[in-house]
Every structure is written in C-alpha cells, then in structure tokens.
C-alpha cells in the first residue's frame, strides 16, 4: 500500500534580489496514515514553506508530491479543489488567520459551503457538531474573533481544518502563540482528534519539547535542507548531526537539576540565497573542515535514521573518547 503522503526531491525556490532563495531544497519523506511527522528548525529554515508547498498553497519548483499514491505535483484546478478536502492546514497565529468580520459559526461553516453538497440545515447541524468536537461552547456561535482568547480562536482554526474530514493536516506552529496551560489543552485536543479520526499530521514547530511529545518521526531542517531525520525517541537519544545537537542543547529546561553544558552556536543562519554547495551549517559548526565544502548526501545510519553530515562518525567517536 502506498504511503498517505510522499515528497520526492521537493524544491521550492523564490526569486529574490540577489538570486534564487532556496527555501526548500531537495526534501524527501513519506508519511503514513495516522502518524505525525514533526518538522523543526529555526525561523527562516523553510519549514513553513515546506508545509505550504505540500498543500499547493505554493507551487513546487521541482520534485514530486504523491498523495494516496497519486502524483499531485501538477494538479488541474478540479483536482486541486478535490484534494483540498483531504489536506488541510492549521495556521500559527489565531489572531490573524481568522476573518475579523466573520462570526464563529460562519467561519467554521465556510469550508462546508464551498466544498460539501449538504443543505443549509445540515451545514448548520454539522457546524454545531464541529464546535462540540473542538470544545467551543454554543454561546459563542455568533461571537466574533476579537471577543475570544487565543485558545478559543485556535479551536476555531482547528474546526475549520476538520470540517471536510481531511486525512492530512499541516499544523504550522499551532500552539506557539498560546500560553502553556492553554497549549496543553490544544495539544490534547489534537491528539484526541488524531486517534478518533486517524489523522496524519505534519507538525511544524520550533518547540522541541512539544515536537518530541507529539511526533512519530522528526525532521530537522537547516536552510532549506533536511539535516537529520529519525524516529522521535531515537533523535533525542542518539543525536548525530552537530546542528541537531546544538538545537537540542539550546532548549531551556525548567529544572535546576542536571544542567547540561550548552552548545552555544556562533552567529546566525547564513543567507539561503544562492547557497554554495557543501554543508550549509558549516559557518556555525565547531567541527567544520575542508571536506565539508564538498556536497553531501543523506546517509541512513540505522533503520529510519538519516543524517547529512560528512563528519558525524568522527564527532560521535570523539564524544566516546571524551567520556
């Protein structure tokens, strides 16, 4: 059986002042039904662009996208309309992703009006059902977004995404704008929905503790490229790429015990415009040497664990020596 979603050598370049901006550069992965792929990286690494390209909110520059075994890279208008029902997105900022002049029920109803063949009454009933599903009280039916807090707004965003019973949802930083107590409510809701409906998620975030919690596989992106991908547990236990190591060590831990030595990376993301061949992380990498200027390939080090680094073996061995 084919995977639910597959990307093959997906690329998305933008024309920019100085040349071509490599936002997504040669990304391949598969996602099975009901599973979650976490995508992490710093702002500007291309993680949101990847999500949007998969959904055709942006058109891919090169590469292929397969959904349920069908090539959907260059869809006709009708095909595009049809697979929108199956692939949806939850946006980051519930403060700007809702139309301020649309009431709660109208906002949730909109996809149903556009796509389903239901009658008026059925749509209304379905809308109420969706509100119950995501936990928005009926009394908010006629409220407008400005009257609601961030958590409730994000629930509306989720209800909109669920309305057409999709199989795959891109969740683009869905909890980043929320307070922790509310964030936990929304994550639980998303996990419940996944179990009930067998949804597959691509969970784009910069929050590593959340991503470990929710994902089956995690992909780490750096300047448009996948530098490491592994099952969630494995990535945290057996981190190979120096960028992933630095990223993980930078997360502040809410505990005073066992403070680990933090790897402070020098500098910031370099420009994704006309990148040189070779390792893009090189400029910030403490292990970089001449060989890193050569292009590198993803290597599968153990089943499902991919890394793109010339020196990961050396680094791993050095670590062993130190201990």
């Amino acid at each position: 059986m084919p995977a639910l979603l597959e990307a093959r050598n997906l690329k998305k370049y933008f024309k920019s002042g100085g040349g071509l901006l490599h936002a997504v550069d040669d990304i391949s992965f598969t996602l099975e039904d009901g599973k979650t792929l976490g995508v992490v990286g710093e702002s500007g690494c291309g993680k949101s662009t990847l999500g949007r390209t998969l959904l055709h909110l942006l058109d891919a520059t090169d590469g292929q996208i397969f959904f349920e075994g069908r090539d959907i890279t260059n869809p006709t208008k009708e095909e595009r309309h049809a697979f929108r029902e199956k692939m949806q997105i939850i946006f980051q900022d519930p403060f700007s992703s809702l139309n301020p002049r649309m009431s709660v029920s109208n906002a949730i109803m909109e996809p149903l009006i556009l796509h389903s063949k239901l009658g008026k009454d059925d749509i209304r009933a379905e809308t109420r059902k969706l509100m119950d599903t995501v936990g928005i009280a009926r009394r908010f039916e006629n409220a407008y977004p400005h009257e609601l807090d961030g958590g409730r707004r994000q629930r509306i965003g989720i209800a909109r995404a669920l309305a057409l019973r999709p199989k795959f949802i891109v969740c683009d930083e869905p909890v980043s704008a929320l307070d922790v107590s509310i964030q936990a409510q929304i994550i639980n809701l998303m996990l419940d929905l996944q179990e009930e409906r067998g949804l597959a998620y691509m969970f784009v975030t910069h929050d590593l503790s959340v991503v470990k919690y929710i994902s089956n596989d995690i992909m780490v992106m750096y300047l448009g490229q996948m530098v490491e991908k592994a099952p969630a547990e494995e990535l945290f236990r057996n981190t190979l790429h120096p960028y992933t190591k630095a990223l993980l060590s930078a997360v502040p831990v809410p505990s005073l015990r066992g403070k680990k030595k933090r790897i402070i990376m020098q500098g910031e993301l370099t420009s994704p415009v006309n990148p040189k061949p070779g390792c893009r992380f090189m400029a910030r990498c403490q292990y970089a040497s001449e060989e890193c200027e050569r292009p590198q390939n993803l290597e599968e080090t153990s089943p499902g664990h991919f890394v793109s680094c010339h020196k990961y073996k050396e680094i791993d061995a050095a670590k062993g020596d130190a201990v």
């Binding site: 710093e42 702002s43 807090d149 961030g150 958590g151 307070d179 922790v180 107590s181 509310i182 964030q183 936990a184 409510q185 994550i187 639980n188 996990l191 910069h206 590593l208 503790s209 959340v210 470990k212 919690y213 945290f236 630095a246 990223l247 060590s249 930078a250 997360v251 502040p252 831990v253 809410p254 505990s255 005073l256 015990r257 933090r262 402070i264 990376m265 910031e268």
Partner: protein, 324 residues
C-alpha cells in the same frame, strides 16, 4: 543584611475604560536584593508587564491608574517623584528591555546614535565621548563597533535585541527590567542572548527583573521566582523553592504539569482546566479557585493570606501549609 534595590509595597494598578475597570495588578509586594535576578513568571494578561511599567512610571495614563502602593527604589519612594526627577532615574538607574526588538528601535536612526543619545541624556559628556562609549557598549554585547552607523533593518532579530540590551545597559543602570527579552528569538539565539545577559550581570552587578512565561528561561538565570496570576503574586521563593517539585501553589504546580514531560510515557498532557478569570470581573476569594483541583468552600469566601511555608518561600493559598 543584604541591601534591597527595589521594594514594592501593595501595588494596585487599574485600567479604566469606558465600559469597565480592569484590575491588572492587585496588591503586589515584591523585594529585589542588590545583584539579584528575579523572574516574574505568568501567563498573558497576568499583569507582569504592567508591574514593570509601573516601576518605570511609563504606564499609559489614562487609561491606567495607580490606585495604591509604594515603590521604593534605593530606599526612595519613586511613585511620588515629579516627572522631571523621574526622568533622571528612567534609562539611567532603571532601564528596560522591551519584548519586541523589531519595534523597540527607531527605524530611521542609526543604531549607534540611538545608544549615544541615551548616554548623552544622562551624562555631561561630549558627543565624541558618548560615541566612544556607545562603541564600547556595542562590543560588550558582541556587535563589532564598525556597525555603529547601520540602521535597524540591517540587523537580524537576535542582533537587534543585542542593540536594545546595549542601549539599556549604556548608562550602567542599577536595575534592569527585561520584559520577555528572548521570546521573539529562536532557541539558539535565545541561548546566545541569555548567556550574554548572564555574563554582563556578573560583570556589572546589575539587578534584574526578568519577565517571562518560560519556566525554562527562569531556571537558567534567575535566583528568585515570583509567580504572577491575575494580578497577584501567588508564589514566591528562591529558584530551589519552585523547581523540581518544590512548588506549593496549585497554579505553579499546574504550570509545570502542563509542560510536555519528556520522560513520561503518558499520551496526554495535563493542562490547567479553564481560563484565567476576566480581569474586569475578578472572583471575590482566591482568583485561581475556578481552575483549582483542590478548591474548597473557604477559597470562594475570602482571598487567602500569604503563608510562609519555609524561610523565604511564600504561597498565597489556604492549603499551602497542609501536607497532601
């Protein structure tokens, strides 16, 4: 006796709008010792930023109203100072780092002159001397001084926040109010900025009030923690009184439980149920009562007193002293 740089007594701040009165800060007491870093932790709308703005006297008035309380800075009540006197304190002895470095800088002025402006305002020195000091400050925060003449848009977010920090520290303040200084930054850049702040604090001996919602950041750099909920400090203590299961207030415990626990095998998080109460219509008794798993009748009747459960660890809860 350690010297207190800042002492807030019973601070009450309200915002008066046409329709309602928003009770933003409801009787806060807080002491900051010299050289200490204290974390003000809480969720959006808890009143953290209002506290910082009240200290600096930059609340928008109206609608804000200081309804009561005293703020002693270096043993002098600054709530009564004239605006003229306050201007000598603000930016000079007390400085603030604002949350969003993208909007805290003037986009049409060179970053260097934005720093030297602050220095010249508070010191009787020549322009050249001020520029020299601004260059030093830039180097201190890790920006080459050649970038003195560049504009904010030429800097990345992390670099802009360094400029903002350089500006805040330019006059060598006694007290630094840092309002979510790293929230807008990536974790890797956050780590750089936090390490730099820690280094500067050790070097200059500045006292810091760090406002944040991130308990991880607090664990990293704070000596003391005050947990703010609905305009009140519900728990206060040294870091070791709060972290690693030492917290006693149900709200603080709830905050920790809401975080994804990387060691837990449970498939669900444990959020705090419900939402923070509406600040225009706060409940009479304990403000956390509606969301509290341990609430009893007593909690609705009156607001709990602050109990000292161990030396230096204060909790505003009826049941804090009771062992569960």
């Amino acid at each position: 006796m350690p010297e207190n740089i800042l002492e807030i007594k019973n601070l009450v701040v309200e915002y008066h709008t046409d329709d309602a009165v928003i009770h933003a800060v409801n009787g806060i007491n807080l002491t900051v010792e010299k050289g200490e870093t204290i974390g003000l932790v809480g969720e959006t709308g808890a009143g953290k930023t209002t506290i910082a703005r009240a200290i600096l006297r930059i609340l928008p008035t109206p609608p804000a109203k200081l309804r009561g309380g005293e703020i002693f800075f270096e043993s002098r009540d600054i709530t009564g100072l004239s605006e003229r006197e306050m201007r000598k304190v603000r930016g000079n002895k007390i400085a603030m780092i604002f949350q969003d470095p993208m909007t805290a800088l003037n986009p049409i002025k060179k970053i260097g002159s934005q720093i030297s402006e602050a220095i010249m305002l508070h010191n009787e020195i020549s322009r050249t001397e001020a520029e020299r000091r601004a260059c030093d400050m830039l180097e201190t925060v890790g920006i080459p001084s050649e970038r003195y003449g560049e504009y904010p848009h030429q800097f990345s977010g992390g670099m802009k926040q360094r400029v903002v920090i350089a500006m805040a520290l330019a006059c060598n303040p006694e007290l630094l109010l840092a309002d979510e200084p790293t929230t807008a930054l990536d974790v890797t850049i956050q780590a750089q900025v936090l390490e730099m702040m820690q280094g500067l604090k050790d070097k200059l001996g500045t006292s810091v009030v760090l406002i944040t919602h991130d308990l991880g950041v607090v664990a990293d750099i704070c000596d003391c923690v005050a947990v703010v909920y609905a305009g009140e400090i519900v728990e206060y203590g040294r870091a070791e009184h709060i972290f690693d299961g030492a917290a006693r207030h149900p709200y603080t415990i709830g905050l920790f439980n809401s975080l994804p626990n990387l060691d837990s095998s449970e498939r669900r998080l444990k959020p705090i149920k419900g939402l923070m109460p509406d600040p225009t219509n706060l409940p009479k008794g304990c403000k956390f009562m509606q969301r509290c798993p341990d609430a009893a009748d007593e909690c609705g009747a009156r607001s709990p007193d602050v109990v000292e459960v161990e030396p230096g660890h204060q909790v505003k809860c009826f049941y804090a002293g009771v062992n569960k």
